[in-house]
Symmetry: C2
Subunit: 606 residues, 2 copies
């Protein structure tokens, strides 16, 4: 008889088509005071009046299970999620086979760290100290557990299944090639666990199957910490948000003409002269701490030392190395104050760079090293007698090609220093510049030696030129991925140079391979677009504003690079939800819409 | 002999012309490790190499005393500040004549609260627990101490003098008409007290004389807490930053169509149906707390209940009051989703408004009450049979003028309800609308009854029309004072409707009387421009972003309204400093420039 009633109840549940069932649900007095409930229908989760005596379904609970809604960001390739949810015990989570994962000590620490983060976040959801509900056993099946640190192109895919297990516990099985895939699966699983605001319970779908993996291998951010200093906690927040959006590369533009916050063991004077203040320095300990923090989140850190331009403060004690330092009028010698550029004809330049590269490669141990090469100003070099004299000695003409040859000799020599320090496994990256244009590209640079990061617009013919000459490219085209655009000017008045502000919708639709197609690049060359980086130059950003600038726009890029090209329209309701997730995790992501739009899916359209 | 040496030292100090002298300075070993020092010259504070054995002067210390630099925001009318600084004991501050100030219990609590804030901030500067230095005795001389809460037009001026006093203590004397002036003087004095980053000492100029008072009487912000909820701590941060910029009016757009977060004692269902969630409500206790917090900071709170449009969520339980609620397609019935408008022909509308006004006036006790009147959509009323039938009964034509007559009848009736609740001392405020245009203005509204808040552009002829018809006006012209402009669209894609982003320079030069002059208004009518409010509509702002949106731009408006019209160029270096002050006080003000520009005054120009 009891069984019969159960069947009837189930039928009733299915009668609401897509509606949400909570197994072993609790009944609370407070439900009587609720006015609204959310129902899953073919347009998503819809708010409606709660029937007398009904169990209100919160918008979070509806969304996690409703097939026309969904909460995962980035969207997985293929997913099946049950509309039945179970109560989860946030203190009953475990890795079922930690010993069996393999990969060695560091690998084990990485996946344990990722799991601890996962449990910590679920416990943070729990506001009522509830320890009842089902436990969760997670099995990891990893083909190459020794791959725990991201290296360009490493397999990040995973297959996640959740099913009811024994003794009232849930089972999750995560199969992946590497620990990067395992971590991404944990992120996905974590996103499927929500707090029901009506009952306070932690709920999760009772069965899940997800096949997933990224469309692009290079998914990153560029952060400048020299125009304004960004504190270690703010960098960690950024890494946290990156992990939430499955980004894998933090490109750290650590120094510039404005300041030298990097603590150089070889030449401590660089920091002593160049840091904004004693508490605006990245010590070696800070950097090691940040790298550990990133590794657990599936993120590699790529350091940039921009040269021969974008240097200045910090070098004042070095004779004959930086020229045009804070030269006036600055408009003549550089793109923004203060000017500063290295003298490529001075031995001191190479002596100091040798030390800096030595410090950076020892600390960062990344498979990429960004050498900058951005915005060299020929007029600066022209204005220095010593340089023009030395060029003459070198047999170089004092014309545009002569100066570019000088620059390329500099580049060859510093690349040699880099490979002496770090070996050939470290791939250098350069920004697009006048050195990567026209004939100079193949004359001065070899496609097997460099990855090129594009900062010009998506319609720049240089992009096609690079790819047609076999260069791997990273997109940071400023018309979609420069997140400092759109604010006030900081020299003079009016709006800043790359205004207007770039909305997330534009970021979302900035697909590298689609851009290549539009530029007429053959499909067989499109694999050279390895991904993209959203860049934040910090003339007008610091701890107070970086969260707002990056998020949720960098998440939009994250999904575009993970799930492949698509329309922003299909992503809006999930990004709105994901933005709330970032805020819950302590990231001050910018506000997209009224909360009304989150509670009334599909009603905020044009 | 000792005396002779002292004289020589003083002469040496004066030999550096404008340079900074620190009395009874300490000598630290750490000075030897410093590279840079700041020197006051005719262009401001300039960074230069520190001479061997020299005492480094930090940029903060240089700026506070250097006449070509300065740290006060807003700029006082007239100030004389000595270049000699003394060490201050942050634990030796006192009001010398608390009992003698007068004004009664509440007045006394207000000035004590303001003084406690002042001391707390100075103690927060102290990072080394230093209790040595001079004490500070503050004498208040207040003509009308009973004026401690801001009411339109009350005198806010002050005269501040600081001089060496007896027993190694400093004396400050603050003369003012009201306690509002006293509070502003404390803010000014607090800004003159800085931490020297080289020694850790708290320093202040040993003698100061400042005459000061505002150019405009109404200096405010408009904050919308209905599109997205803004938490009490975020509102308090906003009030803190307002006080730092001597703003005096917080106009609280508390409800709108999207949500009803205001707890109505008379009709609690409004909040039960209309709040986004149970923890997104302003209780009476919250509001009382916010009002107390504001009063201590010299700020009055003006509540807005926008009607007859901009209503919706929260009213679902009331029969025949809100029409067009979330009507589709929304473009037909309102300016943004969700639509909602009051039925001016329904008695229930007035019954509920009576209760809301009763609750609001009892709690806020302000001398202004904002009645909204924004963006009424005639098509919405046209679409409701009941309304068109009732209009016919009232003898009104179903044309544009008929609907405006209906609206004005609504306005007359609700104004009557308001004055029944609050008496005639409460002045209603209305937004510009089609009701304030052309002949309707004088036909429907009386200039002695209403203040009009302008939200259209600075070149809108309606502005001249209002002033020529004797209406007092508050400027919130959207082309300079809508701080939500310039981000992505939130319905559809592209940038939002009032893009681009408004830079602080534009805000700074948006002087109301200058705008009136440009519109050809006679000088004798220009007093009708009582001030301005920077508005933040929160479709795309919430706790994560309001600090960034408001600050430092609202500070720019603050100085423009306090010190009168001027060029942003003369203000930039001080605003950069003031922005750091806001950050130090816990407000995440947006980033204006690289820190390099703060350390190299005058070098970031165009």
């Amino acid at each position: 008889m009891k069984k019969f009633i159960f069947v009837l109840l189930s039928l009733a549940a299915f009668a609401h088509a897509e509606n949400i069932v909570i197994e072993n649900d609790i009944e609370l007095e407070s439900y009587k005071n609720e006015i609204w409930t959310w129902k899953c229908n073919d347009k998503g989760c819809e708010k409606e009046a709660l029937a007398d005596g009904g169990r209100p379904i919160s918008v979070e609970v509806c969304r996690v299970a409703c097939p026309t809604s969904g909460v995962l960001w980035p969207k997985p390739i293929k997913s099946t999620i049950s509309t039945t949810l179970v109560k989860l015990d946030p203190y009953g989570l475990s890795i079922a086979n930690l010993e069996g994962i393999g990969g060695g000590k560091e690998a084990s620490e990485m996946i344990q760290g990722a799991f601890e983060l996962f449990t910590e976040r679920i416990r943070n959801l729990d506001k009522i100290g509830s320890a009842s509900g089902q436990g969760f056993d997670i099995y990891f099946n990893v083909k190459h557990p020794e791959n725990f640190r991201y290296v360009q192109g490493v397999n990040e895919s995973y297959h996640l299944t959740v099913n009811p297990g024994q003794h009232g516990r849930l089972n999750a099985t995560i199969c992946s090639e590497t620990l990067l895939g395992s971590r991404h699966a944990l992120e996905t699983l974590g996103q499927l666990i929500v707090r029901d605001s009506f009952s306070g319970s932690i709920l999760t779908p009772s069965s899940v199957e997800i096949f997933d993996g990224p469309s692009y291998t290079h998914r990153g951010l560029t952060l400048d910490t020299a125009r304004n200093f960004i504190s270690v906690p703010a960098i960690k927040r950024t890494l946290d948000a990156m992990a939430a959006s499955k980004l894998n590369t933090f490109h750290w533009h650590i120094t510039d003409s404005h300041s030298f916050p990097f603590e150089s063991r070889t030449f401590p004077n660089l920091t002593k002269y160049g840091a904004y203040s004693k508490n605006k320095i990245y010590t070696e300990k800070d950097i090691q701490d940040i790298i550990r923090f990133a590794t657990v989140r599936g993120i590699r850190i790529v350091p940039e030392f921009d040269a021969p331009a974008h240097v200045g403060e910090g070098w004042q004690w070095v004779e004959d190395a930086v020229v045009c330092l804070a030269a006036e009028p600055w408009q003549t010698y550089c793109v923004e104050p203060p000017c500063g550029q290295l003298d490529p004809t001075s031995e001191n330049t190479y002596k100091i760079l040798d030390g800096i590269y030595s410090d950076l490669t020892r600390l960062f141990k990344s498979d990429q090293f960004h050498m900058g090469g951005d915005e060299v100003n020929i007029k600066c070099w022209e204005s220095v007698d010593r340089i023009t004299r030395n060029m003459k000695k070198m047999g170089l003409e004092a014309d545009l090609e002569g100066y570019h040859t000088l620059w390329s000799k500099f580049q060859d020599r510093v690349r040699k220093i880099l490979s002496d320090k770090a070996g050939d496994k470290v791939k250098p990256v350069l920004w697009t510049s006048t050195l990567t244009e026209g004939d100079r590209l193949t004359k001065f640079l070899n496609s097997s030696d460099y990855i090129i990061q594009i900062w010009t617009k998506m319609d720049d013919p240089t992009i096609a030129h690079l790819v047609n000459n076999s260069f791997q490219v990273i997109f940071s085209n400023y018309d979609a991925l420069y997140f400092d655009c759109g604010f006030g000017a900081w020299v003079g008045d009016g709006n800043n140079w790359c205004s207007p502000y770039i909305p997330w919708q534009k970021v979302y639709e900035n697909d590298p391979r689609t851009i290549l197609s539009k530029l007429g690049i053959a499909p067989e060359l499109q694999h050279l677009a390895i991904g993209a980086e959203a860049a934040l130059w910090t003339e007008q950003a610091d701890d107070s504003s970086i969260d707002n600038r990056f998020w949720p726009r960098a998440s939009a890029m994250g999904e575009a690079l993970w799930s492949g090209p698509g329309s922003w329209k299909g992503a809006e309701h999930r990004l709105l939800f994901h933005r709330e997730r970032l805020v819950e995790r302590g990231v001050q992501a910018d506000t997209m819409q009224p909360q009304w739009c989150l509670q009334n899916q599909g009603s905020c359209y044009l």
